[in-house]
């Protein structure tokens, strides 16, 4: 550890100043816009925003889909994480790599694939017609279901990653011990596994939830203007109506949600070292590669 503080500051300052200037300043100004009107500082923009039923629908829809995606990710995530952990150490690295791989692919490509699969002439519809379940193509695209599926695919790897890390830290004989004491598999999960992997679940859940809330590409492509979420609403308000007030309000909502989640994650990561690796890993991969 070097003690010259000024030296350290000199090194850190350019990067910090750059971030502050290019990033914090404009965003701060944007958020400030939400509180300005001709007569000074008000929260009028916020009131107006939430008065609109359409806006409220979109707000709740965003939260609802976020929650549903998180729930689905938790259930599937546990199943996949258990499977990975039970298959032994040597396969684990490769399996985790496979799970992470989709995160590296452009969200545009990943989301667009669903158009091919869920479209009117897509695989699902053709399969359904072949089996005879439907006569005409069912509309999957531009529905909440499509957005749900797209978001789930986008963020599931983060949950799996977090849960694998949590399961690896489970005491080795905890599950057999519970079994021998008379627990059914469900009781083993609810009374032993869940409490002991709670942190991993919270970390994964936070990443998935925030990701789903702040996603853009997937709702844009799979939901279009029929299923608007907060971010696509923002884009629409700005490009169509030059409505910067709404944009500012939405920006504030999104930032508050994202920031709170991040704070929670940092607190959890500081509490236990084991969680740190999982957190850093998952967080690093989360942002930017899944928006």
């Amino acid at each position: 550890m070097f003690s010259s503080r000024s030296e350290g500051l000199a090194l850190a300052l350019p990067g910090a100043l750059f971030a502050a200037l290019v990033f914090l300043l404009p965003v701060g100004l944007l958020l400030a816009e939400g509180f300005r009107s001709e007569s000074g500082w008000t929260i009028g923009a916020y009131v107006d925003f939430f008065e609109s039923a359409r806006n409220r629908t979109i707000f709740w829809r965003t939260l609802r889909l976020g929650a549903l995606v998180t729930l689905a990710a938790a259930i599937i995530g546990y199943a996949a994480a258990f499977a990975i952990v039970s298959l032994g150490e040597s396969a684990r690295g490769r399996l985790v790599g496979l799970v992470i791989l989709p995160l590296m692919i452009s969200p545009v490509a990943r989301t667009y694939a669903w158009i091919v699969i869920l479209g009117r002439t897509g695989i699902v519809n053709r399969a359904l017609e072949a089996i005879g379940l439907t006569d005409e193509p069912v509309r999957f695209l531009f529905t909440e279901t499509a957005v749900f599926i797209g978001l789930l695919q986008l963020f599931l790897p983060l949950m799996i990653l977090s849960l694998v890390s949590a399961l690896e830290n489970l005491p080795r004989d905890a599950i057999p011990a519970a079994r021998v004491l008379g627990a059914s598999w469900w009781q083993v999960f609810a009374r032993v596994v869940l409490p002991l992997t709670r942190e991993g679940l919270v970390i994964g859940g936070t990443l998935v939830f925030t990701g789903a809330l702040t996603a853009f590409i997937t709702p844009a492509i799979l939901g279009g203007s029929k299923v608007l979420m907060l971010e696509t609403l923002l884009y629409q308000r700005v490009t169509v109506a030059n409505d910067f007030a709404s944009a500012s309000v939405i920006a504030m909502i999104l930032i508050v949600m994202s920031f709170s989640a991040n704070l929670l994650l940092r607190r959890l990561a500081a509490a236990r070292r084991g969680a740190r690796t999982g957190t850093i890993k998952a967080r690093t991969l989360a942002a930017g590669t899944t928006r």
Binding site: F23, V27, F82, V108
Partner: protein, 259 residues
């Protein structure tokens, strides 16, 4: 025995869900037919060829490449000193600095893009491309700091002190002792930053203009108007590019270790 089978079955389904769509896109892009469908009617590279020949993609590809390369390099140039300072010095405001530098990860990209457009580009009449470069650099900065920071944490400080005692200057110690040892971390940060920047959409949404479009943005507008397999071919190419980069990075760098 049967537990093993169950595990394989679960993983097969989950991996199919996660990776399957990607494979679908690749197959659809290689279709010889006229319409966008899966399974493709025959295989051919014609749509790939078509995509590669579209002029606007060439220029947007160049722009995205430029952003990815220079943005990441700039982020590293700014970020490595920050990571070093945070790790080796007891800084005042260390937590604040860490927060500021990590902020871009927390804020949704679209907000950044809009904010830059509204309060930088327009009022100060700054060239959109410049703003785009600045935005991408800011976007990658947190990764640079974090990944390089992790590498630095793993490297004990004794080495530099030993070098200094042997006569090296601080800068010399850094170049001779620290850099070689965090090299794979830096490279991993570069790859991660590159991929992140290249695939980035929301930040670039508002920061586009005539002739200034990143590849993903260009793709999206193309997607909205075209319904033939060339779209799939394009998406597949993009995806394959990312996969190839990450695969090579893992192979030669042990990339996943740093992430």
């Amino acid at each position: 025995m049967s537990a093993r089978l169950l595990a394989y079955a679960v993983l097969a389904i989950v991996l199919a869900f996660l990776i399957g769509p990607f494979l679908v896109i690749v197959a659809a892009g290689l279709s010889a037919g006229e319409s966008l469908a899966f399974p493709p009617q025959g295989l051919s590279l014609r749509w790939v060829a078509k995509v590669l020949s579209i002029e606007s993609f060439r220029s947007s590809f160049a722009l995205s490449m430029g952003l990815a390369v220079f943005g990441t390099l700039a982020a590293l140039a700014l970020g490595i000193p920050v990571a070093y300072a945070l790790s080796r010095y007891r800084l005042p405001f260390a937590e604040s600095i860490r927060t500021i530098v990590s902020a871009p990860i927390i804020v949704p990209g679209i907000i950044v893009g809009l904010a830059l457009l509204r309060h930088f580009v327009v009022p100060l009449d700054i060239d959109v491309t410049l703003a785009l470069y600045a935005a991408h650099t800011a976007l990658v900065l947190p990764y640079a700091v974090r990944v390089v920071g992790a590498s630095l944490e793993n490297l004990r400080g004794d080495f530099e002190e030993a070098a200094v005692l042997l006569g090296a200057s601080r800068l010399g110690a850094f170049v001779r002792v620290v850099l070689p040892n965090i090299r794979s971390g830096v490279l991993a940060a570069f790859v991660l930053g590159f991929v992140t920047s290249f695939n980035q959409v929301p930040v670039s949404l508002f920061l586009s203009g005539p002739g200034v479009r990143t590849l993903p943005i260009d793709m999206i507008s193309y997607l909205e108007n075209t319904y033939d397999p060339s779209v799939a071919a394009l998406a597949a190419l993009l995806a394959l590019l990312s996969v190839a980069i990450v695969y090579l990075a893992e192979r030669f760098l042990g990339f996943y270790r740093h992430v």
